[in-house]
């Protein structure tokens, strides 16, 4: 896997260097200008290669126009850069010959299983694949319809997170009482509010830092649903791949309490 990849990489770099020289001798912008590309136009760069002309065209058509370039033509061979394809279906709609067909593309693996009474669904994205939202949609779509579904979400507030939390009944924001924890919590709160989701906060390692998280939640009228104390035993259990709830009794108690709070339909 590694070797052919690095070879093609070298070829790509040499090709790019060659194009650099070409672009310097005959700037793509001038060629496009002469051929009448104007602001507001839609340009399909059929054979975009490394995109020298696509970029030049993009600067010419301006914000009102479009340039498409996930499809390239090298010699007599048409290539599709599947990594750039967002599956919008636009090329199918504009191809006059009906020559483009969509096929499913594997981007990862979906696994289901069970641990005791708990059913489990997991999606694993292939390494090198940039877009995870379709995989997240697939995971959510194959979760069985049961009384309580718990989703473990990625960090941050970008597309994968939005895709994960969309349509949930309650968002639990787990934070730490540190400047990093509080900063990222504020972003998560902003996201939850933008999406109109109900949410509450859980403070993990509650005695490890300062009191800023509590002050913030009080000012913003955000419910703190549980506090889990800092305990090295939790970190050690986790490092062995074991559950804190089954190894550390006082933590288990807090987590059971949290579950009861949620099931009693506490107002958040």
């Amino acid at each position: 896997m590694t070797e052919p990849l690095s070879q093609s990489n070298l070829g790509f770099r040499l090709m790019s260097l060659m194009f650099c020289v070409r672009d310097w001798l005959r700037p793509p912008t001038r060629i496009l200008q002469e051929s009448g590309v104007r602001p507001g136009m839609a340009v399909l760069d059929f054979g975009c290669g490394r995109g020298g002309f696509s970029l030049a065209a993009a600067s010419l058509v301006g914000p009102e126009g479009h340039v498409y370039g996930a499809i390239a033509c090298v010699g007599r061979q048409t290539l599709i850069f599947t990594e750039l394809c967002h599956a919008c279906g636009g090329c199918l709609l504009v191809c006059p010959e009906g020559a483009i067909r969509e096929v499913p593309k594997p981007i990862g693996r979906l696994r289901t299983g069970a641990s005791g009474p708990v059913q489990f669904v997991e999606g694993v994205l292939n390494v090198g694949e940039a877009m995870s939202p379709p995989a997240i949609r697939a995971v959510k779509g194959s979760a069985p319809d049961v009384e309580l579904t718990v989703l473990d979400c990625p960090p941050g507030t970008s597309c994968p997170v939005i895709e994960s939390v969309r349509g949930c009944d309650l968002l639990l924001l787990v934070t730490e009482p540190t400047p990093f924890g509080l900063h990222d919590l504020k972003l998560a709160v902003e996201m939850a509010r933008a999406l109109g989701l109900k949410f509450g906060v859980v403070v993990n390692r509650a005695d490890a830092g300062d009191r800023e998280v509590w002050d913030y939640c009080q000012r913003q009228r955000i419910a703190i649903l549980a506090e889990i104390p800092d305990d090295r035993a939790v970190a050690e259990a986790y490092s062995r791949g074991e559950l804190a709830a089954s190894c550390v009794p006082h933590v288990a108690e807090r987590i059971r309490g949290l579950l009861e709070t949620l099931q009693s339909g506490a107002r958040v």
């Binding site: 590694t2 260097l17 194009f19 967002h86």
Partner: protein, 313 residues
């Protein structure tokens, strides 16, 4: 010019604490916070902003309610379930269509096929990026709007700006704080870098995520070095991690012990090496020395990166 990217795979392993400490140990570096989804480096380095720019990437569709005839073509064509039939009415129809900007992927298909030209498709401001001054040197960082996309493009923008700053100020090292995961922003922060430093935790999930991100750096041709943070939490997993790294040609450059001084430094808004001289601080100092050695060895990838950058310009 060398570019060191600190990544982890898993979140919360202490990447940013290591980068901040490196920043105060490095003499002539430009700092970049590539973790644009949840940028934290500025909390420790407290930058003074010198330059502020809007980041626009991609476009978002917006239906002009006055022009919409509710034909439903946009809803039919949208592959991202971003069109809803709950917009305000106008003189012609009681209800119009509306685009959910968070769900909109920005493909422009609805805009192209709207017979009434009732759809606007304008570039969206996804966030802001900054060039700042900190006590440890210049820093390039960003704030991405909530639910904004194109974080990979923003990362590329930050790295390019950092390269310009480094060239102007004759600084020979770019120090990047990467983001967790293996997705689009991580790929954007690694492409063409001189060295990737993995900061990993000796946990089952830390190990799993390390293997995935190590596979990514191999695919991208970026040499790697690894340090285990909180190494004493689980000696066995730490040894496993180091062995796995060795098998993949990733140099093991240090172990950082579990030390409450790290959290205390963060609360004091200081870097670990500024705030303490305890076991973690000492480990980070020696880690920095070893990482510098690796940086000087990583010539081939740097040359490859330069060719790639030259090609992009």
């Amino acid at each position: 010019m060398k570019e060191l990217v600190v990544i982890s795979g898993k979140g919360g392993t202490g990447k940013t604490s290591v980068v901040a400490s490196f920043a105060s140990l490095a003499e002539k570096a430009v700092l970049v916070d590539c973790d644009v989804d949840a940028a934290d480096l500025h909390l420790v380095l407290q930058p003074r902003t010198l330059r502020r720019e809007d980041f626009t990437a991609g476009s978002k569709a917006r239906i002009k309610p006055g022009h919409c005839t509710a034909c439903g073509k946009c809803e039919e064509l949208c592959r991202f379930d971003a069109v809803y039939f709950d917009g305000p009415g106008n003189g012609k129809v009681p209800k119009t269509f509306r685009v959910d900007t968070i769900a909109c992927e920005g493909c422009g298909v609805c805009f192209d096929f709207c017979a009434e030209k009732a759809i606007d498709f304008a570039p969206a401001v996804c966030g802001q990026w900054f060039v700042s001054q900190t006590r440890c040197g210049p820093m390039v960082h960003a704030r991405l709007g909530v639910a904004a996309e194109n974080s990979g493009k923003l990362v590329t923008q930050l790295r390019r700006t950092a390269q310009q700053v480094a060239a102007q100020q004759k600084r020979d090292l770019i120090l990047c704080d990467g983001s967790p995961g293996i997705g689009c922003p991580v790929i954007a922060s690694l492409t063409g870098a001189s060295l990737a430093l993995f900061v990993v935790e000796p946990t089952a999930s830390g190990q799993h995520d390390f293997l995935r991100v190590a596979q990514l750096t191999m695919q991208l041709g970026v040499p790697g070095a690894m340090a285990v943070n909180k190494a004493d939490l689980n000696g066995e997993v730490t040894r496993d991690l180091e062995e796995l790294a060795g098998q993949r040609g990733i140099a093991v450059v240090g172990r950082i012990p579990y030390d409450p001084a790290v959290t205390r430094a963060q609360i004091a808004r200081k870097t670990v090496v500024e705030a303490s001289d305890g076991p973690a601080a000492q480990a980070i100092r020696s880690l920095w020395a070893k990482t510098q050695e690796r940086l000087h060895l990583s010539l081939p990838a740097a040359v490859g990166g330069l060719v790639q950058l030259a090609a992009q310009e």
